[in-house]
Symmetry: C2
Subunit: 478 residues, 2 copies
């Protein structure tokens, strides 16, 4: 990654520092900013540079100059928008056999001409593409003829060791042998479901949840039991407890750390209680931790697996949201289901591409992954904040908007009259891709919701596109 393209000139970096302080509420709406002269002294930069940083924030509407008083932090509209209401979704077992995959809506993933608010894919510009490719080349040269050999499941110990080492960050202490390397998070989830469920079984999922999980259930001929989300805290555990009393389920799937699409983070005490509830009913937990490294502030959240006392958690993760979606390197630590998952893996894909996995392992070991992650998180956090602000300015007043604690997607509740699939087609005609809410729900409810990807650096096209979306939403809700 070329750091200069991301960090930009000095004044931009300084503007970023101030923006962070405002977003973290170290500087709150109405607060007086340090004087330009004072700030230039603190940061050891020239007064013109400091002034340029302030001008940048002013342009963005984060601060405003008052005559003869200096700069003040502006109240931002996004701070006052309510959160989306997810409670309306029915909580009943759903046979997904006739579930429309809405295939056409996903065909745009790789269409580079559309403004990419649809798929939850980060911009290549934020990721260390060049560095990873260089590492891969060096490994290929070092291995010589061996570089084309197959790295049969569970995958080389070198790779599993680096992943295991990171498990300390998750509140776990897993060993290389606990892991199986997978084809991204998708294969990890698919293997976990196949290892725990037989066709016809019922699986608890969050409502709303990741749409490809629902497609997966359909393809595996599994039923879904959606359990609603409790505001910002993830799955409503009382609702889960009630559901499990009524219904026999084969597994439960959660994205506890920065749910897709809501961005919610399950608190540690809920994670502990979740495990108690599942242990009582002897239900395995499939934890999708693909966004876990992307908190917007504070320490890296613990995995639910950290509260797992009897190896019933199948922890799934990948480097697709942090390093390289196209390298397809994921993992599963399947606990007591390890042997079954390994058997399925060997007969489903046998191995992943070895060089990409070796390159990711080397980046984890010597590439400054932690330092890199700190920068990446800041980008995602800022892009999400910027998108929230732009949405609140452009969309109708009565919307709900998620306040993600991590990751890079926004979940947006639009006025009831908006049909987000219609909105999808209108936006597409305008060159913008979005993800309609129906994709994320077993019953195709959430008709008036959309998910927006904030994985790309903010630019004029993003700004304009939010304006167009707001216009379309206003027209539809009028």
């Amino acid at each position: 990654m070329d750091r200069t393209t991301i960090k930009g000139p000095v004044y931009q970096r300084l503007a970023g520092v101030l923006e962070t302080m405002i977003q973290r509420q170290s500087l709150r709406p109405g607060d007086r900013m340090p004087s330009v002269r004072q700030f230039s002294r603190q940061q050891r930069v020239s007064v013109p540079t400091a002034l340029q940083a302030y001008a940048t924030l002013e342009t963005r509407g984060l601060i405003a100059a008052r005559p003869k008083s200096g700069f003040f932090v502006q109240a931002r509209q996004a701070d006052f928008v309510r959160e989306p209401d997810n409670t309306s979704a029915p909580q009943k077992v759903t046979d997904l056999a006739d579930f429309d995959p809405l295939e056409s809506l996903l065909a745009d993933h790789s269409n580079a001409r559309l403004v990419p608010f649809g798929a939850a894919l980060p911009s290549g510009k934020l990721l260390p593409a060049e560095k990873l490719a260089r590492i891969m080349g060096a490994i290929a040269r070092k291995l010589g003829p061996e570089s084309i050999q197959c790295d049969i499941a569970p995958g080389s110990e070198r790779v599993r060791r680096e992943i295991a080492r990171r498990s300390l960050e998750w509140g776990c202490s897993l060993a290389p042998d606990d892991f199986i390397v997978t084809i991204g998070g998708t294969e990890a989830l698919s293997l976990a479901l196949r290892a725990t469920c037989r066709p016809g079984a019922t699986v608890v999922v969050e409502s709303p949840t990741y749409y490809n999980l629902l497609n997966m259930l359909r393809e595996l001929r599994l039923n879904a039991l959606p359990v609603r989300m409790d505001g910002a805290n993830g799955m409503d555990l009382d609702a889960l407890d009630r559901a499990l009393r009524r219904t026999r389920v084969a597994a439960c799937v959660v994205i506890a750390n920065f749910n897709n699409p809501t961005g919610s983070l399950m608190p540690d005490e809920n994670k502990r209680r979740l495990m108690e509830i599942l242990a009582r009913r002897n239900v395995p937990l499939i934890e999708d931790d693909i966004y876990g490294d992307l908190q917007h502030e504070g320490p890296r959240p613990r995995c639910v697996k950290a509260f797992d006392r009897d190896s019933r958690v199948l922890l799934c993760g990948s480097f697709s949201k942090t390093l390289a979606p196209g390298y397809r390197v994921g993992y599963i630590a399947a606990g007591r289901y390890h042997r079954q998952v390994l058997g399925l893996k060997k007969t489903s894909s046998l191995a992943g591409a070895s060089l990409p996995a070796f390159a990711i392992a080397e980046f984890l070991r010597n590439g400054g992954y932690d330092r890199y992650l700190r920068t990446l998180r800041q980008h995602y956090r800022r892009q999400v904040a910027r998108m929230r602000e732009a949405i609140v300015e452009s969309f109708p007043e009565n919307i709900g908007l998620s306040r993600p604690k991590g990751g890079f997607v926004l979940w947006c509740e639009l006025p009831k009259r908006v049909d987000s699939i219609k909105l999808f087609w209108q936006a597409r005609s305008a060159g913008i891709s979005i993800a309609p809410g129906q994709l994320f729900s077993t019953q195709r409810t959430h008709q008036n919701f959309i998910r927006l990807n904030c994985g790309h650096p903010w630019d004029a096209a993003t700004e304009r596109s939010i304006g167009i979306l707001g216009h379309l939403v206003k027209k539809m809700s009028a």
Copy 2:
């Protein structure tokens, strides 16, 4: 690929030319060889170089000098060995639930300290590792930040176009849109089975067949109906016809071009008849064509898919035996099952690693794949011939030995008293890996068979190891 390391000095290349003529019976046992002087003139090399080529063949026992008469082609023992007898295997539907995966026997795949007669993996030295890595590096540089993006199923048109272009070689004329890129041949087969069969269904397989196919059936909870092989011609179609009259099956899997492990090639007229039989019973065919590019002589054999009139063939292939096992680039052309396979692919692994797939596509387009394949086929053919000769010299007299028409594995019937799993462990203690026959059969018959990988260039260690194996077999059969 560094061609000099493969072709070696001039005299070795000349020895290769002569060896080919002997193996193709242009020069037959007892024939007088051209004089050294004559040969040096024909080949435009010096007399000492020609002599060195002859000396090389003499060392290998291919020719012998008779005083004052010149060199003569030696009769080779391997020409007289019979083929293995595969008819003893019972042909009945087998529930594989309790099927022992013999997992431990496969754990040695990546153990570089063992002489690699076990897994059917080619030597890295024969494959274009450096060239592919260079291509991959160039593509990564050209793509820049886009190089880490995800190439979601069915895979980029660029890759599918190059594969589709090759289908002319197979007697087909498929379009890019007929293909889905997969994680090697393994995922292609797995998706094909999942698209055509529900748990509990019965699948026709060859007996013997590729062991991971049997593991796959077990993991998918499918039953196997083994149909015996007809000598060198592949599946016995009369036996198939009888079996289908008695049993309802969901799919039929064949490796028509160079079956693993027997190396047999199904003639075109049988391929046509196979399709007639399956069409009559409305059974889909899953064709594993992973060895199809590796004929030992003559034109590239046609796929059964070339005889498919109603899109009932799911053709599976990969570049794991020809270019790079560890790049994991395979494909499926699933005919009328295309949509189902695509749905399963998107929810099983979503995408393969993009850079390796792009590199393989570029090699197919501009890398001289056909020229490269010609060299590779010669290597495999010679290695197989050399291994056959060494086996016949070292093993007991009453063995059966396959005459593969392509690929790089040998199937060897040992005396009845030999238990090949015991032999496996004894060989392993001696630093040699082999594949016991039981792995290849649904009923764990073929106890006295082994499969030997000839994917590595012949060297002294290979020679010695065949000697040791022969010694062990003789001891066990005594």
